[in-house]
Symmetry: none
């Protein structure tokens, strides 16, 4: 039997994704792994032609696999690799491809060790996860018990991946950089993400559209997609070129044009999240921060602590929901609360000052608001949130927001807007320092 | 030609959903209409067997329609009914079913009036939206220009719906109450959700599988789906019966059987979330709680504050990341920190005590751990988290967890496990009170 050299194998250009699991056919869950997979596939120039979701039925899955293999070069099947009776992907793929299954002793050994490391005995049903169709390449899964599998059949490739995103994503990212990259064409899709805060989707579009509309017909063309979530807008730029340096030139120029129209609403152009940008700025200056928050209930602290290493600059958080706690924990004056109400700019400032004082740090952040559904008044409706930052030099910045949506959305937008206010205060400090030559 | 009476038509029991649109095959968007459609279909006893997403390609769409009609009774196609050249659903369905298209003068008239009402002239390409396959029933769209269509062919039904959710949802809700309801059986699908905490998916399955395996072949049968997310497992029970009282009897009995094997791991059987269950228990007893947390960075407070009205029982939260803050804010002794380390059961208890004392409330909660990626040691690896609850009577409960996963997952699991420990302590208090007759 002759072994084909990789170069003689057909290039993979089209793909389908099949997600397996009866829970994905309920009103409560659907497939989202395909978004991640599509991004990685597009990057290496592979187009996704169809996505399907089937239940834990071997008949339905076998039909879907057979149909897909008649249409595309690469089939990615997600889910159904677990240890239970419902998990039938291994067996079904083997049957469709006419392969036998064998028990892989290396996988079995790793499974046993994984359980032993936790002081458990491996349940007997996990043994199924060591079953492998003949000719399959095993893809290691450091984050779970289900290994992935790579199969070749008639010039087509079938990849089986575990369903949980935290297992699937690193496994497929490895594959897209390695084994899969060797089987596709040389052109790649390069992306750049411009993160924006403090402006809604339609405002960002109004500012940016005249800029990016021209890119679509440029050479190389740049595609732009706007993605919005509460309190955050992202512009995703993508271009298809042969080399990374070429992509850098094209995307740098495009990003610079956007920066002109979006100004200080731009959080980052290098993929960093809002929390990371704030963390980097705090670390650079050796400033430490403390948070006093009410309606956000701990989410502002949690957002700042999101980033590894944040213990160096996030010193303390105080969740003070009641007036009594605002007084006892943050030292907000009873007279101030009585005069202005708990949701007011003076109280937000006093909470920021109180957190800064209680933790003995340079920067204080305060948030107080009405997340609803109850508690609103004509003067201060649900969605009214006051946010404040007190800077190292004692400078005070305070804003009142009127946020739309339900309780969860108000809390999320208030959190993001507060972290963004901190970003703006830090950026302003850096500009002043630069001007003063500090 | 004789007209068949509705009673002689086959009952619709199985469905597929096809979403049409190239944007749904990018990394940024996917179909979510199918979740709404599945909920409405399940309510009237129709099971969704498969969901597919295809681009704006007549070949791909024709293939998907043909395949689906060979499998199920009802096919719902969403999207591709707009006025542009990309919108090819009408033409493709007509071709697959072998029907001609004609221009519907009523639709054309309505389209013209719709534009005139806004002071505009109808663009010529909107005329395509008045094209209807022969034999189709037109479904009015008060919220947009694309009418829906209902077609019958060989005992199967094909429904075409516009893609935008705000147009699709009212149109399909009407259909499910009217024309579609007449074509399904009298049986309806009823659901029950059993929420479980403190046990992983495979453990829950090990305990519950012997119970629910028998249900599948019962009369009426009960289907069980397990949904897991970090720190939480849900069992979704569904049964197909004719009346709501009958469903209540069947699902109550099933839930009671699960409660026997799952014991105090059951959080709720009535749809309440973990935070709601804890909130209800605190409110019932008039107990107030304060949280001292480190690695979770505010997420435990935020989880408790998730529920509206929580200001009555969540009094204060303290995020104490550094040893210095654990000392100054929560009064954790320097000797204790030096002897046991910041991540230890004594320190978790001292944080709970400190939060309870600082806020002057009945219950204190403490969390300290290593969320990673750095900070782990051989003795205390990343994922080591100590959680503690101090009860109103001073009773102390403390646990050490070894959590898997990355920083985000460790924080999320630590948060849920802590809130669940609070639930268990509260439940135990209620049992004791009942025994003592308080």
């Amino acid at each position: 039997m002759s072994v084909e050299a990789p170069d003689s194998l057909p290039r993979l250009a089209t793909a389908e994704v099949i997600a397996v699991g009866s829970e994905l056919l309920t009103p409560f869950r659907t497939d989202t792994n395909s978004l991640f997979l599509t991004a990685r596939l597009n990057e290496i120039g592979v187009v996704v032609r169809r996505k399907s979701i089937v239940g834990d039925s071997p008949t339905d899955l076998a039909g879907a696999i057979g149909e897909a293999l008649a249409r595309v070069d690469l089939l990615v099947v997600c889910g159904g690799l677990g240890p239970t009776d419902d998990d039938l992907t291994r067996e079904t793929v083997a049957e469709v491809l006419g392969r036998s299954l064998h028990e892989d002793s290396d996988i079995l050994q790793q499974l046993r060790e994984r359980f032993e490391a936790r002081g458990w005995t491996m349940p007997e049903n996990n043994r199924r996860q060591a079953c492998v169709p003949d000719g399959a390449v095993v893809l290691e899964n450091p984050r779970g018990t289900a290994p992935g599998l790579w199969l070749e059949a008639g010039g087509r490739v079938v990849v089986l991946l575990p369903g949980p995103p935290r297992e699937l994503e690193p496994m497929f990212a490895d594959l897209a950089r390695g084994r899969l990259a060797e089987r596709v064409s040389d052109e790649r899709l390069y992306r750049r993400v411009v993160r924006v805060a403090g402006r809604g989707e339609s405002h960002v579009e109004e500012l940016a559209q005249p800029v990016y509309a021209a890119w679509r017909h440029g050479d190389p063309a740049i595609d732009t997609t706007i993605l919005a979530s509460p309190g955050s807008v992202e512009l995703h730029l993508s271009t298809r070129v042969a080399t990374a340096p070429e992509a850098t030139i094209v995307l740098d120029r495009a990003t610079a044009q956007l920066a002109v129209v979006l100004g200080d609403h731009v959080v980052s152009t290098d993929g960093r999240t809002l929390s990371e940008v704030v963390g980097d700025s705090l670390r650079r200056h050796g400033h430490r921060v403390a948070v006093g928050e009410s309606c956000t209930g701990g989410l502002v602290s949690a957002a700042l602590v999101d980033t590894p290493g944040s213990s160096r600059y996030v010193v303390a958080g105080f969740v003070a929901y009641s007036n009594e706690t605002k007084r006892s924990v943050l030292g907000v004056g009873a007279a101030l609360l009585a005069e202005h109400g708990a949701v007011s700019e003076p109280v937000a400032l006093a909470m920021a000052e109180g957190a800064r004082r209680a933790a003995d740090v340079e920067i204080g952040v305060g948030v107080t608001g009405i997340a609803g559904p109850g508690g609103g008044t004509a003067e201060k409706p649900v969605g009214t949130v006051c946010i404040a930052v007190v800077a190292p030099d004692g400078g005070r910045t305070v804003r009142t927001l009127q946020l739309p949506g339900d309780r969860a959305m108000i809390r999320q937008m208030a959190t993001r807007t507060t972290v963004d206010l901190l970003r703006r205060v830090l950026a302003r400090m850096e500009t002043h320092e630069a001007v003063r030559g500090d």
